[in-house]
Every structure is written in structure tokens, then in C-alpha cells.
């Protein structure tokens, strides 16, 4: 096992542990926990047996396994970024509504 494999496996284990802890505290749903488990599981598989990624790469018509990982990661990051943006916008609007209701509470004539 190479050093990078150890580091990445530990990282995945840490990520999985964090997801479980959040689930226990009720921070995320069972569905979300399953998704995280799948994600970190896939990471461990790819880290310990890089040829799996190469397999997927061949099937998708991409040259190398490592490239597939990078492409998928970028797509996932963009998606997460988009969700974050949408959520922040949504919260901004809710705060505005809250500030508005508070401001207008005593206004009448």
C-alpha cells in the first residue's frame, strides 16, 4: 500500500465517520447517509483498487482511470456549488421577509 492510498483511505474513513455522527444527531436523513456511504465507499474502492477506475474509464471511452475521477469530481463540485448558491439565495430572501415583517409589524393607520 502506498502512502497516498493510506492517506486517502483515512480521509474517506473520517468523512464516513463524520456522516454517521451527523446522522446520529439527526442532522441528515437516512437517505443522505446512504448517499455519503456510497460516495466514500466508492472512494475507498478506487483508492485501494485503481484498476476499477480504469475499467469504468474504458467503458466510458475516457483514456485513464484518474481522468474519470477528476471529471466526475468536477461535475459533482459544480453541482454542489450550484445547490449552495440556490440555498444561500433562498435564505437571503427568507431573511428579507423576516426583516420586512418585523419592520411593518406596528405600522398601521
Amino acid at each position: 500500500m502506498t502512502v497516498i492510498q493510506i492517506i486517502l483511505t483515512l480521509f474517506a474513513a473520517f468523512g464516513f465517520g463524520a456522516a454517521v455522527a451527523r446522522f446520529r444527531r439527526g442532522g441528515i436523513t437516512l437517505k443522505q447517509l446512504s448517499l455519503w456511504t456510497l460516495l466514500w465507499g466508492a472512494v475507498v474502492v478506487v483508492v485501494l483498487r485503481p484498476e476499477t477506475a480504469s475499467d469504468v474509464a474504458r467503458r466510458l471511452g475516457v483514456g485513464r482511470g484518474a481522468d474519470v475521477v477528476v471529471y466526475l469530481s468536477i461535475a459533482a463540485l459544480f453541482y454542489l456549488q450550484f445547490r449552495l448558491f440556490a440555498r444561500v439565495e433562498d435564505q437571503e430572501r427568507q431573511i428579507t421577509r423576516l426583516a420586512r415583517e418585523l419592520a411593518l409589524k406596528d405600522l398601521k393607520e
Binding site: R93, I95, L107
Partner: protein
């Protein structure tokens, strides 16, 4: 006689708010100042000058304040609503003329344009930014107005009840145009004179904010 309310959104405008309120009171029955979470004495000074003041607990930006102001004006029973900036760049005669124009009944929404007549002293750089704002508003919302970023507007109660302001910040000016188009309201522009002082110039959109406003507008158009 219909009831007229002028809405003035204000954020840290203690230097100019008193004069803005006193001017607005010449043109309307009530002046509603929305203090957008100012850290200075904007609220006290506006109230002392004769305005009804409502206050955001936290700063929400121009769009948030205007939304609150229009909602508040409706609750006050306004038949005609105008908005003006707090920095002293608008003249109350123009707000009155804008409301008079709406009162004629053939339009629902009036924008006071600084560009219809080349009055006033708008700096060239401003004029160019202005053009970009208009062009973007046209591309996104298919409506050409000569001053899409103007802070002086008037609308009927009918229009105010239909317009939904959702943006929090500067992109609100173009959002008004969008809402006018979407809700099939009738729009007119009247020429106004803007008084540019060093103070009011320091308060408007600078280049970075302008870019942000533009990006927000494009994103909103794509996502909605």
C-alpha cells in the same frame, strides 16, 4: 383626493435624510422612510423631519428596503406610491409629476428618467454605465427604457399590489421593469432632473457593484 405616499429607502443617510423627507412631504400626504439597518441616526432624524419610519433589524439592501416600503405604503392605504432616493439627488417636484402622470389613469407605472432630456449634470462615466444597464435590461426583459436604474418611480395601487420584488440589492431597479412587463402593466417615462453632488455620487453603484448587479440579473434570468 387620492392618498399619496412617498417611499424613501435609506441606509446610513443621516446627512441628507432630513432634507429628503421635508422635500417629499411637499409632494405627498405621507412619507415612509425605510431605514435599512443603519448604524447612524437616520431613523431619529427622519422621524423628527416628519416621516413615518420603519426599520429593518439587519441591512437587506436596496431591493429589500423598497419591497418593505411598497408593502408599507399599501398598508397605509396609499392610492399612489412614489419612490425617491435619500441622498438628495431627486427633486420632490419630479416625484409629484410622476404621481400626477399615474393619476391620469392611462399608465400604471412611471419611471423618472434622467436621460429623456439632457438636463442635470450626470457625469459621462455614469452615462455609460447607465447605457450598459439599459442594454442588459432590454436583452433580459425585452423592454427598452431610457433609465432602467433610476430610483425615482411612481405607481398606482393596482401596480404595487401586483409587483413582486424578490431581489435584495441593486438589481431591483431592473426587476421593476421585469415585473411591469410580466404583469402587463402600462409603463411610461417622464424626464426628471438629477442633482449630482459628490455625496450622491459616492452612494451609487460603483464599478464592482455594477458588475455584481449584472451577474445577479443574468443568473436570475437563467434560473427562474
Amino acid at each position: 383626493m387620492e392618498k399619496r405616499v412617498i417611499v424613501i429607502p435609506a441606509y446610513n443617510e443621516e446627512k441628507t435624510i432630513a432634507e429628503a423627507v421635508r422635500g417629499a412631504l411637499q409632494a405627498a400626504d405621507r412619507v415612509l422612510v425605510v431605514d435599512d439597518g443603519s448604524a447612524d441616526r437616520t431613523s431619529e432624524i427622519a422621524a423628527a423631519a416628519g416621516a413615518i419610519v420603519v426599520r429593518h433589524a439587519v441591512n437587506r439592501g436596496l431591493g429589500g428596503a423598497l419591497g418593505t416600503g411598497i408593502e408599507g405604503a399599501l398598508r397605509l392605504g396609499a392610492d399612489l406610491i412614489a419612490t425617491m432616493d435619500a441622498d438628495g439627488q431627486h427633486r420632490s417636484e419630479d416625484a409629484k409629476r410622476a404621481m400626477d402622470r399615474v393619476a391620469e389613469g392611462d399608465v400604471d407605472f412611471v419611471i423618472g428618467s434622467r436621460m429623456l432630456e439632457k438636463k442635470g449634470n450626470m457625469p459621462a462615466r455614469r452615462r455609460f454605465a447607465q447605457f450598459l444597464g439599459n442594454a442588459l435590461t432590454y436583452v433580459l426583459f425585452r423592454k427598452w427604457v431610457t433609465d432602467s436604474q433610476s430610483g425615482l418611480r411612481a405607481m398606482s395601487r393596482h401596480a404595487a399590489e401586483r409587483i413582486r420584488i424578490r431581489s435584495s440589492r441593486m438589481e431591483v431597479s431592473s426587476e421593476f421593469v421585469k415585473e411591469v412587463v410580466d404583469k402587463r402593466l402600462r409603463l411610461a417615462e417622464i424626464p426628471i432632473e438629477a442633482i449630482y453632488t459628490e455625496y450622491s455620487l459616492s452612494k451609487g453603484q460603483n464599478f464592482a457593484v455594477g458588475v455584481q448587479t449584472a451577474l445577479k440579473l443574468i443568473l436570475r434570468r437563467l434560473l427562474d
